[in-house]
Subunit: 340 residues, 4 copies
């Protein structure tokens, strides 16, 4: 190794025009590291924000973006004990978060952020920052798990306890939202999905949505959701938008309700009226992917529950810019790039 032939997509500055294919060296794994030949990489909305310079304004270049990859271990460091060559693994995105509480200073060791990203044919994972990919999923499916699935899982199964029969409101039909919908259906939760597209809502029903609300037709979707629950409100809302949308989310909540702050597709602020917040003892929690133990538990669950990730479209490795642009069109599920 240390040999030539590692194709990557590398940013030399912000903007899609500065993202270019390069051909670099295949890295050597350190003693506790794994060298992985990737087969598929999935995209998240934040990847576009990073490429555009919106999310991490002080990024250093050159930089390989994206965080989610699956691949086969082709070499292991001298001290590696948890894995061996030939296994198919996924990277743990927040690499220094094994279990329990997160590190005191977050995102010092995060793939595609403080650490180099996944748009390469070969990548390095620490052996403590990798998990086996679930056997029933193919590479394209498995590549979608590290951020989107783990974020939904963490909000629904780790930070709280899902109680079958309770209601959950899921905003939109992007990558996290569809995993949330699939988990909700598998957990026996009654999922209410919102979207501006009746066609997407129809597909959400096919994936197990209990009810759907077209928020273009019903801008007061908070009241609509409340009505669906007999006036009591929704037990859990996954906030994907921020801004004024969060006010409606709060208003849709039942007593002891929970709002998980997951996405920021809209505004950079959230604001709430304070009295109903206190009166209903609302809990609002910021979610930031999850730890490796949760990843392992989730993979076990995905296997047991027979969940198959929803893929909107698969792109070739030479189509990365087009794939990133697709993120802005509101995909139904995940965008994946094949690297092999």
């Amino acid at each position: 190794m240390g040999t030539d032939g590692n194709r990557s997509w590398q940013m030399s500055g912000f903007g899609l025009s500065k993202l270019k294919p390069v051909n670099g060296e295949i890295p050597d794994p350190g003693p506790y590291e794994l060298l992985v030949r990737t087969s598929a990489v999935s995209l998240n909305f934040k990847d576009k924000m990073i490429v555009d310079g919106v999310l991490i304004p002080d990024l250093s270049f050159p930089f390989v973006p994206t965080s989610d990859a699956v691949g086969e271990i082709v070499a292991v460091g001298s001290a590696v004990s948890r894995f061996k060559v030939g296994q198919r693994v996924l990277g743990q995105v927040i690499a220094d978060w094994p279990d329990g509480d997160a590190p005191a200073v977050l995102h010092q060791h995060t793939l595609g952020s403080s650490l180099s990203g996944m748009l390469s044919e070969h990548v390095i994972f620490g052996e403590d920052a990798a998990v086996l990919a679930p056997a029933p999923l193919n590479d394209i499916e498995a590549a979608t798990l590290p951020i989107a699935a783990l974020t939904a899982w963490f909000a629904m199964a780790e930070a709280t306890k899902p109680v079958p029969g309770q209601t959950i409101l899921i905003q939109g039909t992007g990558g996290v939202s569809l995993f949330a919908l699939q988990f909700a259906a598998a957990f026996g939760l009654r999922a209410i999905v919102t979207s501006s597209s009746d066609e997407k809502l129809e597909r959400a029903r096919e994936l197990g949505a209990w009810q759907t609300i077209n928020y273009r037709a019903q801008p007061a979707w908070d009241e609509a959701a409340r009505a669906l629950t007999g006036g009591l409100g929704v037990n859990h809302v996954l906030e994907m938008v921020g801004g004024d949308n969060a006010r409606l989310s709060l208003n849709a909540l039942a007593a002891d309700g929970r709002l998980s702050i997951i996405g920021l597709l809209g505004a950079m602020e959230i604001s709430f009226p304070i009295i109903p917040f206190m009166r209903n003892r609302i809990v609002v929690q910021g979610i930031s992917v999850g730890h490796r133990r949760a990843f392992e538990r989730m993979n076990q669950a995905i296997e047991a529950l027979g969940i198959k990730p929803v893929i909107d479209k698969v792109y070739r490795f030479d189509e990365v810019p087009r794939a990133l642009q697709h993120l802005e069109e509101g995909p139904f599920g995940k965008i994946v790039i094949t690297t092999a």
Copy 2:
């Protein structure tokens, strides 16, 4: 009973001028009820807001305000089994919340809100909505517990787990804040107290504050608090103000930090930037007093910890309007009215 001679303060409308002493009948306890001759009543800031018509605009009159009282049981209903005549009790303010989750629709059975209040010589408690007063406290001290102490306790000991050595930031030196400070000191938490008065901060230090910040001298008290924690941030902030203050609270928080929304002395809104909220996995929780089991546990703790409530001033029963006005002057601890 059913006899004359029950002096009360009654609202015939909003405003202090509509709050008058009246002489009514002593009520009869129903089969599961306790008749209590009160000896002391404590005030909370929300009592002034109710008298002024700010908090419950649709209140029905006549109405006896306030929620916190201690007194002696002078008669019990025919089916009462939990208490007997002669015992000294406190009322459970959210009367239909015995333990666990709150009722689905809150404040249908709340003292001084949906139920009649405590500014009477005789009041009625359901036997399931009363607790024994802690033996080491005198009546004036015991009367302060039902809202202020239980709110602080619930935020610090029930909704979360206090870990000695962790930091908590307490805003101001009102009733809830000083209980929070006393609990913090007893739990081994490092309490940072904020106030605009150096004199109050000095007294807070005497009560066990680890550090103090005069937010008039240091308007960027969030940065000051963060500096006190070696840059890591505070583990728990008790939000007493709302509005823009809550932004500073959020900014003062450590990773995995918690913001308990307790008071609304300032604005009716809270708003936050969304990225640090997610990045640090912040939890914001609205607190609404607490359940009866927590009240019992707290009383047991107050006894074991030797905590004595901080009383700012005691008023006579004929001084109720003056006592309510005192609330707006920012008392150091609790305002109590003796009824006997």
Copy 3:
């Protein structure tokens, strides 16, 4: 009311021969009580132990046994606000346990134990000790829930958090065990069921068992269970037997495993080796039915999950002794008696 015509089965002493039908008065509900005309009563193994004098040796006679009934409210006390005539309800067996922690002294207000039981055409429930029956279940099905289903639910969904993909070992195919199996399948848990009957194991597979073990064929069922989990052990075992069986249960557990003590079909003792207990950080928890809030959550879940209780056999009200004897033959699911 207070009128004649309330048929019951009453014990005048211990033993089946002392259990006789009687005709008493229909009771009047107190102010906070519901009068319920029962339609179905289900039996639990402990009912036979009570009739035989094994479980409560100091019982006072006459005594109406059993704890589980469904029926229609035919009258309500003057102060009742939670229910109305015509609703179909189930009794909360531990009547003074609404939520959270149990009463400090348990079983002072337990149906069919310290309170009169359910083998009557008319029974009284406190309004705080009743829940609506799940609409999709008929009377015979609904009658099975108060002890068997709630015990399984409490062990699996309240005292712990079910994680899909984890394993649970369920001993036998009695009432609690089959509810546990149905919950396990609905929660995405991998259920291992043990029995001495291949035919029952076959039916357990049809209900969703992931694996089965005939403990007669494989007396070292602990090792068999461990082998099924790739050597890691089972995450949760529901102990139905006690005695030496519990040693095998402990031995079947994975690290951080949990043993819920539910039944005592075998011995009155449990014993464990202490080193693996500590090394694997085992949690053993005694389960005693559950609180009313859990009952409400469970009913909501049963509805959402489409669970139908498994009934072994339905008896007429004049067949009570035969029904009780059936308990000792190891029914597959529940025994129910119709009262109407």
Copy 4:
């Protein structure tokens, strides 16, 4: 390094006579490792059991026993980022347990068990398996923390939530027990200490015991403890003995009580009657030291609470055999060996 001059005590077989001082090489730290020059080592009862061949019968020789050491970092591996030379650190005994759940197979990386022990002048810690020693403690005090203090902390502050005013029964006055007593006093718990020595009980009172029971004078110490709690029972018992003693522990417990299984000074078995276990919903939990995050939290707490470990006796490095024998005499607190 790799140089001569690392004095150790090494077992060439079981029995004190096979434990000898040797002079070996100073090891080189691997890339993620710390080389630590120890200053003090503390002993635990299990160390004597290991030397005697009772606890780990299949130990491989030569073997350096014991698990607890404090020392200064004298060299760090090339990739170390969490520590630097000159810092004073303690080793995390279960080296592969950073936070949350324990590893699926425990004790594959445990100091003084599967890994080499601490009776050396120089030892190696992984950088992820070390914590800073609390600044206010001297070396002798700090050396006592890794097993005894963390075990008590984990049982009292991690596996459960300490509620001030609740009762805890602590058996004996050994190392874990005295840490438990000091934590109890600092947490506001009412600690009941048992011992066969009135003199030790007197010293326990000085350390903050609320009540004491001489179990020689009162063999029915379970009933005595229950009487001290007004008949309700104790909330938490720390089991240090096992065997029949655990039956008394169970009998001393209140409803919802908890029994933490910590020690095995007596028998290798525990056994309980099953009915009170279920009736009171007892939780029994095996405790096995704790994770690194808990260690860090504990050290922060020890500092904030001003806790000073209780040292029974300090031995020189050439007195190791005598120090180990001392363990069997029932020390009051910890036995420490200085290595420098």
